[in-house]
Subunit: 329 residues, 2 copies
């Protein structure tokens, strides 16, 4: 009996579960206190229109990871989750445009009840920023911004070494700053028109590509993509690599829009660095060069050339899980 | 002797000097620890192209306030100064576009040496935010943004009850976020083109008015202003009050631009409120209505209708001095 108590106490600082809840898929992993993802798995988020069923499947999956590692739930100190529109203060996912569950979902409570340990949630980009600060490019930094460029555009803002939550827990919705105020901008998942998310996400790049292919006659390799409705930013990257000028223009356009907005963010919080994360960063210099150029072109003289923009050095599959799990420690 | 020591110790929490260093004039005042400006005076900033002469005149003026109140410098706990482009960390005013002194001016040191007490400086808008937090509309708030609308557009951002300084002390340069990225926007004092400051400051409103009067034939009372080169936002206000449609359009245009940018700022830091301060706010509902409308029209659903924008309740002549002096306590 005594041994069991000791083992539980010792294990208390040893393992956590991390959940990276995305619009398309949910990845979850078992992490040790050295920041190693020991085991992970995933489920397709969109396949569960009922939140209860989703939670059941997710929790079954997490319990399996724990069991497969030869552990019990008593070894797990907590669960951290990064999710779109997750509120750190309330533990709820609130009106997330890219998730199947509408309204206010008391996600932390639903998971805590099923698993018997505390679940803490935050914005997915906040989780990524936390991951960068503890394990990634932002180690040692106290002021930086992480922008996630995936299905959407998310942001995690660190100020004086702490995640910025703001008055209500929702600070850092930079993807919903508008680049087009005309009222004719692209419809965003949030219900607004003209948000940067509708242009500078991986999805936004695909939309730009589709617009050009369907509404112009410009010659481009992108016309060879079999199903134009499912063109991806990867297709645009492949075309750019083959010297396609339209593909290059798409990245120039996207990077310029993003760089212009990043300049605004620098004027706000004066970060030491900006770190980009997510699918679109795989386009490398095609997207990074125009971003950096537009950033510098739009900064006040005191910051010109001084704000590095880099791509996360964390392994994609690990970073979000690690960042989420770090909420649990 | 003992009495004198006691008196000095007691006085240590009793008086401070506050300097509001602006592009046009510099106001300075003697403040007690109840937040009352006991005496104040001002000098014309632009009249002193040499920083040493400026400091001499300013310090003479401050010493006179102290003497006139029957005090000595031993009664003064410190000096706080709000100035454009002032760096809290370094104590320097760095490359301020609207001031006569170029390059890097070690202002805090110059004043401390002359006065024999510590001088602390910060961005003028940060000083205003500090004043709002201690004496004004933001009492009890931990997350809010103050925007100053005067010669320029400044910003003081409070996060978790503390002024935001960022990595290098320059955070909160919101006036230099661009509203026009075309390269053909209005030239701003910072050297960039298209900054919000060039449109939504009191000066920006005057520029818009002048542009309309000189480049269109629209009938407007503004044409009666004797010297169009010196038209002011007050002239535009007076015209609006008399029912002038062009004047109303100018405020609608200015307020819309400002409201759109304020929405970006809310997406960044999720403040409890936004407080406006400075000359342009005297235009009252003419400017406030379009600001509030554009703000709400550009916010994500979670914030719509929830972010109050108000005008500072502090007396203009006092607020900046009070805010600056509060750095000294």
């Amino acid at each position: 009996m005594k041994n069991e108590v000791n083992r539980a106490q010792w294990a208390k600082t040893k393992y956590a579960l991390g959940i990276d809840l995305g619009g398309t898929g949910t990845k979850f992993g078992l992490v040790n206190d050295e920041g190693k993802v020991l085991r992970w798995n995933s489920i397709p988020t969109q396949q569960y229109p009922e939140i209860d069923e989703y939670c059941d499947v997710l929790c079954d999956g997490m319990r399996r990871l724990v069991a497969d590692e030869g552990l019990t739930m008593a070894d797990i100190v907590g669960i951290g989750c990064g999710a779109p529109n997750a509120n750190f203060y309330s533990g709820c996912i609130e009106q997330a445009p890219n998730l199947p569950w509408k309204g206010i979902v008391p996600f932390a409570k639903l998971i805590s009840e099923r698993m018997g340990v505390k679940c803490t949630i935050t914005n997915d980009a906040n989780a990524a920023a936390q991951g960068e600060m503890i394990y990634g490019s932002a180690r040692g930094m106290k002021n930086f911004i992480v922008i996630t460029l995936g299905t959407g555009v998310g942001s995690g803002i660190v100020i004086d070494g702490k995640l910025l939550y703001g008055h209500d827990g929702f600070a850092g919705e930079l993807g919903h700053c508008k680049i087009d105020h005309s009222g004719n901008g692209r419809l965003c998942g949030c219900g607004q028109k003209g948000c940067i998310e509708a242009y500078a996400s991986a999805t936004g790049v695909a939309r730009t590509a589709k617009e050009i292919v369907t509404s112009t006659t410009q010659p481009t390799l992108l016309r060879q993509v079999a199903d134009i409705d499912h063109i991806t930013s990867k297709d645009v990257f492949d075309a750019a690599e083959k010297g396609d000028l339209v593909a290059k223009e798409i990245f120039d356009y996207t990077g310029r829009l993003l760089g212009e907005k990043l300049a605004d963010f620098v004027h706000f919080s004066s970060p030491e660095a900006i770190i980009l994360f997510g699918g679109l960063t795989k386009s490398g210099h095609w997207i990074m060069d125009p971003i950096r150029e537009a950033l510098d072109a739009n900064l006040m003289p005191i910051w010109k050339g001084k704000i590095p923009v880099s791509i996360s050095v964390l392994k994609d599959s690990d970073a979000a899980i690690l960042g989420a799990s770090s909420l649990a420690w």
